[in-house]
């Protein structure tokens, strides 16, 4: 090693390397600073005014001091329903594409389907949901319609992320598992899914975060009103969510403290997404620790 004398080319490579590392860090710092500024702008305006009352009270049209109780509840309710619908199908589709799909034209077609579906603008899913639920089934604007339409929106992303995650599982693990005489499904269940779980959960977090903030779909399918009571589990109630309420307050509300309500709602939304991330990830961290021991 000591006899190694760097050539000019070596030296240039090293300088480039240093410079690149530096600029990657600079880029990272700039992006992080920007994100912090963004979060600060949103949270600092909203968070200080939030109290339990705001989170549980009913929205008001006339009087100052309305809350977001039912819309916050609806947000979670619709999000969970849509995830219940989309996760099994999304994961299933992703696993099929990664593990089962033969390499042929048909599979190519399926993949293009998934990608095209992910480019469908959310408002189109809203129009589709409206046509299916309000026109065809004639049940009006409901939580059910909102949840299903939102699930449509989630599906392609979930499938895509699952496929990538499953593909990333090293081939040695599969071979080892098959060598033990397991069936394909046993291998998927006991080897592939646990190994790729981390990436899949990242995907679910991304999807859940986006779904939580989605408004165009919900306005068309679940409406802009609530049933006016807390804890309404009825699938056929109108289901305004927090993101929709935020849109409404920004766009049309005439109550005097509309601006504060909008700021506070935005802060709550961001906060909830942070919370969701934690909720999904903390168990994973513990899991990772266990694996390492």
């Amino acid at each position: 090693m000591s006899s190694f004398t760097p050539t000019r080319k070596n030296r240039r490579a090293l300088i480039w390397d240093k410079a690149a590392t530096g600029s990657f860090y600079a880029l990272g710092a700039a992006v992080l600073l920007f994100i912090f500024w963004l979060l600060y702008t949103i949270l600092s305006k909203g968070l200080p005014g939030i109290n339990l009352q705001f989170l549980t009270k009913l929205p008001e049209e006339i009087d100052v001091g309305g809350g977001i109780g039912p819309v916050l509840f609806n947000s979670f309710y619709i999000l969970i329903l849509s995830l219940i619908i989309s996760i099994p199908i999304g994961l299933g589709a992703g696993i099929y594409m990664a593990e089962y799909a033969p390499k042929n034209k048909f599979t190519e077609g399926l993949r293009i389907c998934v990608e095209t579906l992910s480019s469908v603008p959310s408002i189109v899913f809203g129009m589709l949901g409206l046509a299916i639920f309000a026109e065809y089934f004639d049940i009006g604007l409901t939580i059910l319609g909102g949840a299903v339409s939102l699930a449509f929106l989630n599906l392609p992303t979930l499938a895509r992320v699952t496929e990538e995650a499953v593909r990333a599982v090293p081939i040695e693990l599969r071979n080892a598992s098959y060598a033990l005489g397991t069936t394909k499904f046993q291998t998927i269940r006991t080897v592939i899914l646990p190994v790729s779980l981390h990436a899949i959960v990242t995907g679910i977090c991304l999807v859940a975060g986006r779904a939580f903030g989605e408004s165009a779909v919900i306005i068309l399918t679940a409406g802009l009103s609530t049933s006016g009571e807390m804890w309404d589990f009825n699938l056929f109630s109108p289901g305004e969510t927090l993101a929709v309420h935020l849109w409404y307050v920004h766009s049309e509300a005439i109550v005097e403290d509309a601006k504060q309500i909008a700021d506070k709602s935005a802060a709550v939304l961001v906060f909830v997404v942070l919370f969701l991330n934690l909720l999904f990830r903390v168990p994973l961290w513990f899991n990772n620790r266990k694996l390492k021991k």
Partner: protein, 320 residues
Amino acid sequence: MSTPVHDLPAQKGTLLQTPVQQSSRWKRGRGSRVRFTNGLFKYYFLFSILALCLVLALVIFFIGKTAILTFKDISLAQFFLSFDWTPEEGKFGAASFIVNTISLTALTLLFAVPISIGMAILIAEIAPKWLKSFIRPILDLLVGIPSVVYGYLGLTVLIPIIRTLSGENLGDGLLAASLVLTIMILPTVSRISDDAISAVPKKYREAAYALGSTRLQVIMKVVLPAAARGIAAAIILGMTRAIGETMAVVMVIGNTAQLATSLFSPTSVLTSNIVMQISNVEFDSTWNYALHMMAFLLLVISFGLIMIIRLISRKRGDVA
């Protein structure tokens, strides 16, 4: 690099029959149950992907059946080649929206791809562990900020800045829209590329380092080509989200049906025009049909862009 991973499932179908059949030595119940679930889930997975395609088929059917009516009243040539969109006077030329949509998407990718991939490399290859586990959740947070908030911040913070810097009166336009979109797709692209880069087997890197490569060389010549598939997927996902995003774009693009002659002229893209007008037109009017046709066109355009990116990434993959 895609070959080894890819080929396995194909062989598998034949391979796995053998061990399962031999298992008749097992207790009969367990053996058949295992075989049954194995078969069942294969069909379940197939069913899932077909369900996804069914949703797409529903979308195409629903949009298409209205869209096709457009051409009862106006000619294909007028719709695709005319730049004049004045529905009140029966002029339905969508060409300017098409061009604008493509320029907006290109501009957005121009900003977003280098930044996102840079972030992905930083997270996956360069940053120490504590920094990784710090940046990742923060990037994810960006996804959860509702588009209305992005639009509002764009309108109240970004546009005044653009207005002072450019000396324009309005500031709305392609630049503002693409900057907002860049921030919106940044987390999607960088997190999925990050996953793809992290999934590159360690031995590739070790082999490259053993040859005396610097980190930059390893990243550029080994890791990125090996992760090209995943990165292409990330870019596609980001791009499709950019094409389909509406609520935020509408607030900063100006919504004027004209071809964007500069980065700062108020203009309109397919999505923003659909959103602005779809709720204000009569159901059975040519105008409504034309808007549906534009939604359909959006599908076609993103389909085309997806094909192009796939082609590029496949060529790259072969070289690597």
